[in-house]
Assembly symmetry: C2
Homo-oligomer: 341 residues x 2
DNA sequence: GATTTTTCCCAAAGCGCTTTGATGAAATGT
DNA sequence: ACATTTCATCAAAGCGCTTTGGGAAAAATC
C-alpha cells in the first residue's frame, strides 16, 4: 500500500494525505483523524527511500568504526551504541554503521556528505588532533564527538567526561592515603582520553609534591593481558609502586591476577583504582575486594550524544553543544593506606 | 553533480551514462571508458536514495539488537560486526543497525520487510525455537542465522559452530585426564549455543560412564562476576569438581580469581577450559597459566555470515546455506591430570 | 452585501536514479 | 542491392514520496 492507493482509498489527494500524516497545519482536524485512522488500519508505511529522495534528508546517523586494523575492536562500542540506539529509534533515526572494508575511512565520510546517506555522524574514540574534525567541518556534515581532540574545545560539538578531573581525584585519593609512589596503567596516548587521564594523574602528584616518574606510567591497548603484564612488572620493580591507577576495567582482571600471584593483598599491600565505563560484563562491585573506581556510564553518554546530534540536525541554528560530565569517584575496598615497604 | 549533469557534460543521455556506469552490455567499450573516466574525474557519486527508490533494492543489511533489557549488551557483537562489516563494504552494502528503543522488535522486522529498508537481515544470538525465524520466513525477508534454533536445522539459512562437538571434545579431554567430576559454567540456556554446549558436555560424560549431576551445571549471564561466583561455589562444595568447563572467556577471569583465592593451582588442583570466541581484549594465551580452550573466531564467522547472506540476496534461487564449523581444541597449561582429593 | 482573509484541499512538478520501448546507423546475410 | 540483424544510443515513463502554487468554499472584516 502506497500513498497513492491510500489517497484513492480515502478520496483525497496525495498532497492532503501526505500533509495529514506529517502533521502540517493545512488540513482540518477532522480529515487528519480520518487519515490517521485509515492509515493505521490498513498498515500504511511510507517508503523510506522515496521519503529520503523527496526530502533530501536521510533520517540516519553514521557511525564509522576506524578501519585501523592495529587497534582492537572495542567492546565499549556495543555499549555506547546501545545507549545511542535507544534515542535514535525513539526519534525515527536509523543508524548506518560502517566497519572496515578496503575503502579508506576518509572516503566513507566524503561519500556520506556528498550523497546525503546520513544526516550526521558521531565520532568515537577521538585522537589528539584528530583529522576527522577538520574533514567533517570542511564537508559541512553535522557531527558530534564523544570525547575531545585535545588541542581545542571550540569549533566542534562534543560530549566528554572529565577524564582529567576523574584521574586527579583518583590519584588524590591515593596520595591522601599516604601513597608516594603511584603507577598509571594507561591506554595508548594517541587517544585524547588517555592523555587527559595522564594529566589528571600528574596534577594530583604535583599537588602532593611528588615527582613524576615516566617509568611507572605505561601505555598499551586495553586488554586483560596487558593489565597483567604491566601490573606484574610495576609491582616487582625496585622501589615498587604501592598503588596503581588503571585506565580501564579491561586491565583490571589481569592486574588482580598479578597481585595474587605476587602474594599481595589488594587494599592492603597494594591499592588499585580503575576507570569504570559501566561495561555490563565487568562489574567493579562484583570483584573481591570490591574495586574503587571512577565511574561514568558509557551507555548514558551514548544516549546523550545521540540526543545532542539529533538536536543539531533538527535545528541547524542552535549553538554547538559542549558537555563535560563529571565523573564519580566511588571508594570501595581496593584502596587503603599506603603500606610500609 | 548528478546523473543529468554528468550526462550533459558528456553529451550523452542519462540512459547511456547510467548503463555505462552499471556495466550493462548495451554500450560501447569506448564510451564506457569515457564515461568512467569523466565520472571519476568529476567525482560523481550516484545518490543512493534515488538508486534505492528506482531499483527497489536497498543494498543494506539489517542487524537488530534484541531489545530485551534483561540481557546484557553483548561485547561479542562488536567483533562479529567487525568481521561482517568488512565484507559488507567490499560488496557495497551498508549496515543498518537497530538497537533498542520502544518500538517492539517484531515491528522493526515488519517495517524492514514492508518498506524494503534492508535487503536482508542477520539474526544473532538465536534462542531455542526462536520466533524470529517464523516471522522472517512469513515476511519473506532474506535472512541468515548465526547459530541455530535448536529444534530444526532445515528451512532457514544458518552458519553455526559445532558447539556440541566442541564441548564434547573439551569434556573428553578432561575425562581422559582422569577427571570424574566436571562442572559446567554455562550461559543461559534460552540460547541455543548454550543448550548445544551442555549436550556436548553430557555426551562426553556419558561416554566416559560418568553420571550427570545438575548441581554442578550452572546457567548465568556471561560476566566476570558470575564466573567468580560460580567457580567459587563449585570449588568449595563437598565432593568438589576437579575440573570446570566455561562457556565463555568472560567467565574466566572471575574463575581464575576464585581459584587463586581458594589456594588452588590451576592445571594441577583444578583444570579449566573455556570457549574462546577470540575477543581481542581477552587472550587465552596471555593468561597464566595459559588457558586450554575450544576456539572459534566470532569475527571470522561474521565475515562468512555476511558473505552467505549477500550471496542469497544476489541469487535468490540458490540453495539455503548451512555451514557447521568445527572448533579447535587448543590444549595449553590450564588442564592437567585429575588430582587426588 | 461586498471584500478580504482564512481554511482546506488539489494538480502537478520535482527529487535522481533505472528501465522500457523506440530509433537511426552500422554490420551482416543473401 | 535489399532485407535483416546487431549495435549504440535516446526520450520518456516510473519508483513513492514532498512541496509549490493555486483555487474554491467558508469565515471574518468592514
Amino acid at each position: 500500500m502506497n500513498l497513492k492507493e491510500l489517497a484513492q482509498h480515502l478520496n483525497l489527494s496525495q498532497t492532503t494525505v501526505s500533509r495529514a500524516l506529517n502533521g502540517y497545519p493545512e488540513v482540518s482536524e477532522q480529515t487528519r483523524r480520518r487519515v490517521d485512522e485509515v492509515a493505521r488500519r490498513v498498515g500504511y508505511q511510507p517508503n523510506p527511500h522515496a521519503m529520503r529522495l523527496a526530502t533530501g534528508r536521510s533520517h540516519a546517523i553514521g557511525h564509522v568504526l576506524p578501519s585501523d586494523k592495529m587497534l582492537l575492536i572495542d567492546p565499549h562500542f556495543s555499549d555506547f551504541i546501545a545507549g545511542a540506539g535507544d534515542v535514535y529509534s525513539e526519534n525515527g533515526f536509523d543508524v548506518m554503521l560502517h566497519a572496515g572494508g578496503s575503502e579508506a575511512e576518509e572516503s566513507v565520510y566524503r561519500r556520506y556528505a556528498q550523497s546525503g546517506a546520513v544526516d550526521g555522524v558521531v565520532i568515537m574514540g577521538p585522537r589528539l588532533n584528530d583529522w576527522r574534525i577538520d574533514l567533517l567541518t570542511e564537508l559541512a556534515l553535522p557531527f558530534i564527538v564523544h570525547g575531545r581532540v585535545g588541542q581545542r574545545d571550540e569549533g566542534y560539538a562534543w560530549l566528554d567526561i572529565d577524564n582529567r578531573g576523574a584521574f586527579r581525584a583518583a590519584t588524590k585519593l591515593l596520595t591522601d592515603l599516604g601513597h608516594r609512589r603511584i603507577g598509571l596503567v594507561n591506554a595508548m596516548e594517541i587517544f585524547t582520553f588517555a592523555a587527559h587521564r595522564r594529566q589528571g594523574y600528574e596534577d594530583a602528584l604535583i599537588a602532593a609534591g611528588l615527582k613524576l616518574d615516566p617509568a611507572i606510567v605505561t601505555n598499551d591497548p586495553m586488554t586483560e593481558e596487558n593489565g597483567y603484564r604491566q601490573a606484574k612488572r610495576l609491582l616487582t620493580m625496585g622501589e615498587r609502586p604501592t598503588a596503581l591507577v588503571f585506565s580501564s576495567m579491561l586491565f583490571i582482571s589481569g592486574a588482580i591476577r598479578a597481585a595474587h600471584e605476587l602474594g599481595l593483598t589488594i587494599g592492603r599491600d597494594v591499592s588499585l583504582i580503575a576507570h569504570d565505563d559501566g561495561l555490563p560484563f565487568l562489574n567493579a562491585e562484583g570483584l573481591v575486594p570490591t574495586l574503587t573506581t571512577v565511574r561514568s556510564s558509557i551507555r548514558a553518554a551514548g544516549s546523550r550524544v545521540a540526543e545532542l546530534l539529533i538536536g543539531m540536525i533538527n535545528d541547524t541554528e542552535s549553538a554547538q553543544p559542549h558537555e563535560l560530565w563529571k565523573v564519580d569517584l566511588i571508594v570501595r575496598d581496593s584502596t587503603g593506606p599506603a603500606p610500609r615497604l
